[in-house]
Symmetry: C2
């Protein structure tokens, strides 16, 4: 008996330590309940966990043969529920209530009893252990029957109330992590939306390029995804590649802001001088972004998206693999959108004609590997 | 004796729990060392903690009367140090070394001894406890003499090695937090630099407004800081206000991208029609940004930065407190910079003349409270 007791303590202590590095609350709670059921040898365990977003206590259930089906009305309870009030009230006393047994509910005064008893009945629980962070009830842990039919011992209940404070810490910690991660995602979203808004505004100066930026970004990312899925990208952090490519594609024509409207909006073909002036946009774009730390890769994409694989492009007449990878992807996406859109001086090519033209330019204007992937993406209907 | 032992365990366990929610590694280590010194009643404690950035183990020292002055050459050691190798090698054995006593160093084979003994001597240590995360040595904890002169008991050393695994978890957790926070800061920086780069590019279209955006942002933030420090902002999250104001100031003229160059670059005064067209920039700016979630406040600043306190501004002729707070701040910053800069059709006012003009416009063009604060900021030389 002494040994079994030591075992459950040791195992549950280990579990409590392990959950500290789990930063998803759901996973953490699942693991905690599973450990409790297993090492206490009980039929099931349930946790009513405070959910900030819903401002209520939401039910989590242990899996297993004896898992309970909770009636829908009981999957969450409000902060005003008598069970919550009971623990909160007890917590402010000098001698705190570390747990509540089903068999003791009768001792609780007056009308409080019924709502509390309801909760115990729903969870088929013998005991309930509160989890506090400072003055706030974070959870109520319901314990099912022990499989050996015995009651919980004082020693077990005491230990569980210590374990409960470990679990509270782990949950608080995970919540903070989730908040930070949400903040990160939100900021990333904000960044992309802002860049998109500004690049769209610049694009709006040219009535013929409506939606160009968005389409080029879409094509470029589709190509990159196919490159990744067919194992053609190695030695690069995929997520970073996608972030950099997205940024570069959104900003690839940003330098047009430095080109005179008289050239941007000219009807008909450009003169040689005007063409040269227009070509400055990739260099101007790179210069505009040069003050942004951490934009090394996107700037390469902006600067070199008009280079050609055979070395006949601009601004630096780079050749083959010397053209940065991101720029080679944007180049094909940019060209495909340009030739399938109507311009003042020519009509749009059909999709079929455009695909043929891209295919012909393999090894000339474009990287053959990227052409191959591009054609596959087209076949799959993703472009 | 039994009681004292229980006490130190209980107190150190409590301390180990407390540090989980500390997310600054330095603070966490300081608290840990302080608790160990206090509850074990030892002279001092030192921790060699792995520092990813420096790829070495860096010394942390407990404060207190018996704090050691560590010679400079010993404030960090490389991963190749024999002490690190010893623990790492022992950790891969089936029976792991949970600690190393000064009195046992002699048992370690051959040339390993000297470097290890050096470390013990520097830290005047009786025992050293390693802290592992999986296969990686995270720290080596050095314990000074016990104040009562006794040796460490097996029971104490066993307990400390359990505590050490708690500390490892807490440190790993704090490191993850610090990484996330750094990522957040970096992203915020990226966002601001990008917005600044793009707004500067747009500003560059008008040779007379070089640096305008940057100066307006600086003035607006200086005013907001003074408003905050003199307790004139209440009921608003200051950090958010500053973020929103910065964004709005950086983007306040973004709508100029929608105005024809012929008007933007016109030498001399504008005709009535041209003026009306030019005034569209605040509405256009708001429209450009309208697709960005979470830009509610900055958009108000962009849209209404040309409203006047007496209701004679544009686009909506808002009056007094109906003009959004952020817009009222940008308005004064924008005007001050405009009148102290040379335009094609007039010379710049002197600083003194400009301050007088702003002062005269209190309650007319500008919010009197913001004028008062603005004048104070000028007096302090912050504008």
């Amino acid at each position: 008996m002494q040994n079994t007791q030591l075992d459950y303590r040791k195992e549950l202590e280990k579990a409590a330590k392990r959950i500290i590095l789990i930063h998803k609350v759901d996973t953490l709670v699942k693991l905690l309940l599973r450990s409790i059921v297993r090492f206490l040898n009980i039929e099931h365990a349930n946790l009513l966990l405070y959910d900030q977003g819903r401002n209520a206590y939401v039910a989590h259930t242990s899996k297993g043969k004896a898992g309970l089906k909770i009636p829908k009305g009981f999957t969450k309870i409000s902060k005003e529920n008598q069970l919550i009030s009971y623990f909160t009230k007890m917590h402010s006393q000098i001698i705190k209530a570390d747990y509540l047994l089903f068999s003791h509910i009768g001792n609780i005064g007056g009308q409080l009893q019924n709502e509390i008893r309801d909760q115990f009945v729903v969870y088929n629980a013998m005991a309930c252990i509160p989890g506090f962070f400072r003055e706030k009830l974070i959870f109520a842990l319901f314990l099912g029957k022990k499989k050996d039919g015995h009651d919980f011992t004082d020693e077990e209940l005491g230990f569980l109330s210590v374990l409960s404070s470990d679990a509270v810490m782990a949950i608080q910690n995970a919540n903070l992590f989730q908040d930070l991660n949400e903040q990160l995602l939100k900021n990333k979203e904000l960044f992309l939306q802002t860049v998109f808004a500004l690049s769209s505004a610049i694009e709006a100066k040219d009535p013929y390029t409506q939606g160009h930026t968005e389409r080029v970004t879409h094509y470029a990312l589709a190509v990159a995804l196919e490159l990744k899925e067919t194992g053609r990208i190695y030695g690069i952090d995929h997520e970073r590649l996608f972030d950099n490519l997205r940024t570069a594609a959104l900003l690839h024509d940003i330098g047009k802001i430095g080109i005179a409207e008289s050239i941007l909006n000219k009807e008909g073909a450009l003169t040689e001088d005007e063409r040269k002036e227009m070509q400055r946009h990739s260099d101007i774009g790179a210069k505009i972004l040069s003050g942004v730390n951490g934009f090394y890769e996107p700037i390469l994409g902006v600067k070199y998206h008009h280079e050609k694989y055979d070395g006949t492009g601009y601004p630096d007449a780079l050749k083959g693999q010397n053209i940065p990878f991101i720029a080679r992807i944007i180049s094909i996406a940019d060209t495909f959108d340009a030739i399938t859109s109507t311009r003042s001086y020519r009509k749009a090519l059909s999709r079929q004609e455009a695909v043929e033209l891209i295919s012909e330019q393999s090894g000339k204007q474009f990287d053959p590997v990227i052409v191959e992937v591009f054609l596959n993406v087209c076949k799959k209907g993703k472009i």
